[in-house]
């Protein structure tokens, strides 16, 4: 894109050509979007679907329901394990890197040992990874996941265990609560960046059958309806830490992305909007660029945290 504004940002050591990233679990592993636009030539980065050391089958059906301005999912991190992921997507993802799009591999686990094992396997098998995102906030798995990210101490413990295993940048995907306190603990434990928020745990009950509308009692809410909550949490976290943030939550337009940047995000991930509006990323990038120009800056970095209160 030809623009007078520098759009390049640096997310904790991951140099992105522009601030746009994708939220894990809403973008497949990129290739699913190649029929819609040239992923490698467009995005600053993609964040792949969460992968564990060994394959996970994920949760039973139904995994999805629709809510006003939102969806609620309970996928439970179905994934083929690191080896299966690399075998299937490695060549494609290396191609994205060659086109200048960074590739962030998301690490899933049920325990410290599983996060460590998955990170070790990624280190060994995924030379295409620009960095890692440690998911300590999935609300849809029975143990680990959100439980690991529930307190500053448990979150920091995961980060501290993973830190010595790689010299590549490590981002931590945070749960939507206590983001200032947990963010500080993760920074102290060596995180290079933080991404927030993961989906917000919710419930939807079919009152006729008295059962959950998905297979588990609770699931993760995402989409435009949660955007304002996500912006608030990015702003709270940005006040508490000095490492860069990736803002996630209901971003569906350039203005939504601009709000995240003003609240303190260095990068912005598009999530649920990818599902219902699969060509939204190029549009959002163009809207964001136009906004930056309209703000009279020469560099988008001047607008990070430029919210005035």
């Amino acid at each position: 894109m030809v623009s007078g504004v520098n759009m390049a940002v640096n997310l904790g050591g991951i140099a992105m050509r522009n601030p746009l990233n994708t939220a894990s679990g809403t973008f497949g592993n990129g290739v699913q979007f190649e029929g819609f636009y040239d992923v490698g030539a467009t995005l600053g980065a993609i964040t792949c679907k969460g992968v564990a050391a060994e394959p996970w089958v994920g949760n039973p059906a139904p995994r999805l329901t629709e809510l006003p301005g939102a969806i609620m999912n309970s996928v439970g991190l179905q994934n083929p394990g690191v080896q299966g992921f690399v075998d299937t997507y490695g060549a494609y993802l290396a191609g994205l890197r060659a086109k200048g799009c960074q590739v962030i591999c998301q690490v899933a686990g049920h325990s410290i040992e599983e996060y460590v094992r998955a990170t070790e396997l990624f280190e060994e098998l995924a030379p295409f990874a620009s960095g890692f995102e440690i998911n300590i906030s999935c609300p849809n798995i029975a143990k680990g996941g959100a439980a690991m990210g529930a307190t500053p101490a448990s979150a920091a413990e995961v980060m501290a265990a993973v830190r010595p295993l790689t010299t590549r940048p490590v981002i931590v995907k945070m749960a939507p609560h206590d983001v200032a306190e947990i963010g500080r603990a993760l920074e102290a434990a060596g995180a290079d960046a933080l991404s927030l928020i993961n989906t917000i745990p919710g419930m939807a009950i079919d009152v006729r059958t008295r059962r959950s509308r998905v297979a588990r009692p609770t699931a993760g809410v995402s989409g435009p309806a949660i955007h304002a909550i996500a912006v608030r949490m990015v702003w709270e976290c940005a006040q508490a830490v000095s490492i860069p943030l990736c803002g996630i939550g209901g971003v569906a337009s350039g203005m939504d992305a601009a709000e995240m940047i003003l609240a303190g995000a260095t990068a912005v991930s598009i999530g649920t909007a990818n599902l219902y509006d699969p060509t939204c990323a190029p549009r959002i990038l163009s809207e964001l660029t136009a906004w930056a120009e309209s703000q009279g800056v020469s560099d988008i970095n001047e607008l990070i945290g430029a919210f005035e209160c």
Partner: protein
């Protein structure tokens, strides 16, 4: 890893009319018509309501590439399809397609048996067109709750398709209704069992309610006949990005309805 030709297409509504209680026929104009194969589906966006964000996944009964028209028969079951039924001729939106994997031709030579229930009929009509285009023989069982003009017209259409070239026995179309207002009163599986007792088949195709397809799959398995089933699921994206439309498999784990289906080998599905 498969590459995809799933893309975003503009569409324009040519006509959109009820053909029975809560059953509508939509004809749209879109470039996807030249790309989509029988049994694949498309994911339509109904504009104008920010509170319902997901697209509506729909199969199609016929597509004509040269004229760019696609015929869709859909049931109004919720707010999304209710709003779809309000899209007037001339209104425009976008669709994602073609999505998923469609019907496959029979792996073995011989007659096919097509079993449709309710709004599973349009994809079965698409399968019939596919077989007729190859001059392959088939019989059809059509199940409905009750007789109505559209289902009768589709049955006439099926009866009118080219005759079986493989044998001289003629094509058969059996109809079942819950209330006996058309054809035989009873279930499609009863009519299917009757045909299986009378004739040999190389392939079964089925689309309809899950419980019906499970019964069809069981009868086909008992008779040692390959069976393809087109499944329906709530979908987030329609092209393999979100993993929300999981289908349990006999071997364990899940497939994705949008990406691995919607047409599955029925014996691989844990019904």
């Amino acid at each position: 890893m498969e590459t995809t030709n799933t893309a975003l297409w503009p569409f324009e509504v040519v006509s959109n009319e009820p053909v029975a209680q809560d059953i509508w026929r939509l004809v749209l104009q879109s470039g996807v018509a030249a790309q989509i194969a029988p049994g694949q589906f498309m994911n339509l966006q109904v504009p104008g309501d920010g509170s319902h964000i997901l697209r509506i996944p729909l199969s199609f009964a016929s597509a004509h590439g040269p004229s760019g028209t696609v015929e869709i028969i859909y049931a109004v079951v919720g707010e999304g399809t209710r709003r779809l039924s309000q899209m007037a001729a001339g209104s425009t939106s976008t669709l994602v397609g073609p999505c998923g994997h469609g019907w496959r031709l029979p792996a073995q030579e011989g007659r096919s048996l097509l079993v449709a229930g309710g709004v599973g009929l349009p994809p079965i009509v698409a399968a019939a067109r596919m077989l007729a285009a190859q001059s392959l023989g088939f019989d059809v069982v059509v199940g409905a709750q009750t007789a109505y003009r559209h289902v009768e017209s589709q049955i006439d259409l099926l009866r009118g398709m080219t005759a079986c070239d493989l044998c001289d026995c003629g094509r058969r179309v059996l109809v079942t209704t819950d209330d006996g207002s058309l054809g035989i009163q009873g279930f499609t599986t009863e009519a299917m069992a009757q045909l299986l007792a009378e004739r040999g088949y190389a392939q079964v195709y089925t689309c309809g309610p899950n419980v019906m397809m499970a019964g069809v799959a069981r009868l086909a398995a008992d008779a040692g006949i390959a069976c393809q089933a087109s499944l329906e699921r709530m979908m987030g994206c329609g092209f393999g990005a979100c993993s929300c439309c999981n289908v349990p498999l006999v071997r364990g784990g899940y497939a994705l309805c949008c990406q691995d289906g919607p047409v599955f080998d029925a014996q691989e599905v844990a019904w």
